[in-house]
Amino acid sequence: MTEVSHSGVDDVPEGMEKIRYDDQTVRLFVFATIFWGIVGMAVGVIIALQLVVPETNFHKYFTFGRLRPVHTNAVIFAFAGNAIFAAVYYSTQRLVKARMASDLLSKIHFWGWQSIIVAAAITLPLGFTQTKEYAELEWPIAIAIAVIWIVFAVNFFWTLKNRREKHLYVALWFYIASIITVAVLHVVNNLVIPVGWLESYSIFSGVHDAMVQWWYGHNAVAFVLTTPFLGLMYYFLPKAANRPIFSYKLSIAHFWSLTFIYIWAGPHHLHYTSLPEWAATMGMVFSVMLWMPSWGGMINGLFTLRGAWDKVRKQPELKFFVAGITFYGMATFEGPMMSVKIVNSLSHYTDWTIAHVHSAALGWNGFMTFGMIYWLLPKLWKTKLWSKALANAHFWLALVGILLYVIAMYSAGITQGLMWRAFDESGNLMYDNFMETVTAILPMYWVRLVGGTLYLVATCLAVVNLYMTIRKSKEEGRDLSDPVALVPVPAWKHKDDEEAPEGADGTVDPAEGGERQPRWDDWLYSIQEKVKHGWHRALEGWALMFTILTLIAILIGSVVGIVPLFTMKSTVPEIESVQPYTPLEWEGRDIYIAEGCHVCHSQMVRPLVSEIERYRDYSKPGEDIYEYPFLWGSKRTGPDLARVGGKYNHAWHALHFKDPQAIEPDSIMPAYPWLFEDELDLSRTSRKLRALQRLGVPYSDEEVDNAEELARTQAEQIARELGSQNPDFAGLENKDVIALIAYLQRLGTDIKTDEGDQ
């Protein structure tokens, strides 16, 4: 079943069929992977720089808060996303012995996906964001994603239907799980109510919104960055090493346990928050149980290489695979560990999370992708890789880059986490000025910048190799038309065909060709026949049932994890003093979101002594009922803001926005001078309040109708106060900064308790 070039096959032998694989689409996805990889990593380097040299937040649309989501989206959905598609398109065709079902759908998929990425790269810096991590893209783009994903799914499942190989290989199981789960996650977490073309509010608020987001967020990690890459590994690793998969039984056990368990783990992102403790506990225990299912993939990968270790030295792609799988093993041990509450109380909000993510993303996703690409280049361009030495250089440089990055971030995260909670012997916070805990880790931020830059440079070496390999292919005049393969006509597909009676495994057995009378118990025998290689083998031959069972596996955890939270009243005990934001404050909140303040600031004080000592009372679920969407944040690059209202006067905030370093000389917060120039836009305030009213926020019709006037009045009052505190800031009533200050001064003020007494 070797693939031959187009011209090589003219006559097809009896019992064989000719298929042409579509490799052009794969080539396109490879280009896109590399291109967006460079873009995403470059933005990563830029934002790493912004954290040490705040002056590099040089333009309104290029501040840290706006660029960080560009970075995460680019590397997850553009770099890893395109890599996944390249892997799926290349391997699926060969594993099922069929061309991708529709060239048109393949084209729509490719170009549609790239357009979505471009739309993301434009809208995110402009401040159009739903704020939820990895689901930031506004609703029209989210709908486009759903459509393109369905196109992909149709193309994929249709190809499965056309398959000539009866049984689905384990790589395909992982692809199936990824495709259906991402569809479910994406739809549920993007349920919003639009208030403009690029503006919307989540239909969930506070605790519920947080739960849905992290059910999504965690499983985006699972079903975008883990399962498709396991599928990739299961195809490309044994191909590259030319070794059988270590254990089929392990494949089955770890596939189903992983798929079933992963979906429950989301709430481990919400330990010690307002999420009820029982829900967080479920997240924790399922994360711990996820350890071995994850390691099943690592074992099957590494053990497949037994007896082939000499090849690792010779083939650069195998080096990438081995290191990638090792990073996967480390990250999937660390993840469960960080899910344990006691560890999480230290790691959460710190750079430890960033370290964890990058050992997985740069190590596992990056290296598996580059391993695949180095293996694919010669196949796709029908020539040898231009330079193995350069590929090896890429590997070592990138490895050093990752190590610098993660070591720096581990030490930054742990250092800062410990400083936040340190008490001196007289029972006071040792570092009660937040900036002390920032300056302590700035040297580590520099090291991270170096590590990230090395990784980016290393990726550029891949570009050189790609370019030169293609040039070489052209010079050698290689024929890049679709490769053709000869495969046996699948007997199992022609059930009614007398001449091709079916054996259980799809092969034609000449001994069973004779005629016989049907008997009443034939159906029993047929079942026995079907499962004679085990029930799972039968399932592998039944793609539809396999898909349905996978769907059920992921729905169980989703439903059991989420539904009770929504139905139980005790989740969110009411707090009477909590009132909706005023129209002006709401506009301020939207500015906060557009500027990406939530990227650096959390709004969730945890019930830990060190936190209530630093930020006063811990946050209650009832405080968040009008938070559409929730803004708890996941990283504290700056201090928590849940209770910042009234902590400073307006003039402090104004000066702080104009020039943070004037207040804290070492502050790494960007300056926001445009807040003092941009006119406060109140034209949509009414519409926004109407949408919120529909979601259940108790605004009166009068408030909704007069939203603009109400906002103006409050703005004038705050501007007056500000002007009297500091005449330099007089006359700002029509500027954005007033709305933002109004919002900040409101935060946490609805509850008048101190030091955690209820």
Partner: protein, 179 residues
């Protein structure tokens, strides 16, 4: 059937007939026993954890917080007992005005806690200036001391009672009068 793996393998490495996907074959090896056992152990631990949390053997959020608060309260109480009791009145504060040690301690406190709002040279900014003799809110040294300790919430002057002890507040009170 072929054995292609190293001789010392613990696993039988028998290739499964009929499993051939684009040339990829699969061994019929069992799952590693340690893998299976650790998996079972994590399940058992999870069941145990939930039960123990429910039964109160493992502290829940509230209990943890209460214990933490107690620990800190004890520390604070102990420290309060040991802390030098300083008497704060017009006289003791006036004495500090030309106590060089107190002034230099006060300067340190000022640089880290106050300069951001009152200016490095006491020239004012977000907060009132100290380089003139006008006081907007304070009336005498004790009143300054109290403002620094308790803050002026309505004006945006933060309380410092949780960050500074009385001695430090007295020092910085002296210092702001030296501009």
């Amino acid at each position: 059937m072929s054995r292609t793996s190293p001789e010392d393998s613990k696993y039988p490495d028998v290739i499964i007939e009929g499993h051939d996907y684009d040339g990829i074959k699969e061994y019929d090896n069992p799952m590693p026993a340690w893998w299976l056992w650790i998996f079972y152990a994590t399940i058992a631990w999870s069941v145990f954890y939930i039960a123990a949390l429910g039964a109160g053997w493992i502290a829940d959020y509230d209990t943890q917080l209460e214990r933490g608060k107690e620990r800190i309260a004890q520390k604070q109480a102990a420290a309060a007992e040991l802390a030098p009791v300083i008497e704060v009145n017009e006289e003791t504060l006036t004495d500090l005005l030309d106590d060089q040690e107190a002034l230099s301690r006060g300067a340190d406190v000022y640089a880290t806690r106050c300069a951001q709002c009152h200016g490095a040279e006491g020239q004012g900014g977000i907060g009132a200036p100290f380089d003139d003799d006008d006081w907007l809110f304070a009336d005498g040294l004790v009143s300054q001391f109290e403002i620094i300790r308790d803050g002026l919430a309505a004006e945006g002057m933060p309380a410092h009672d949780r960050m500074l002890d009385d001695q430090e507040i007295a020092d910085v009170t002296a210092f702001i009068n030296s501009f």
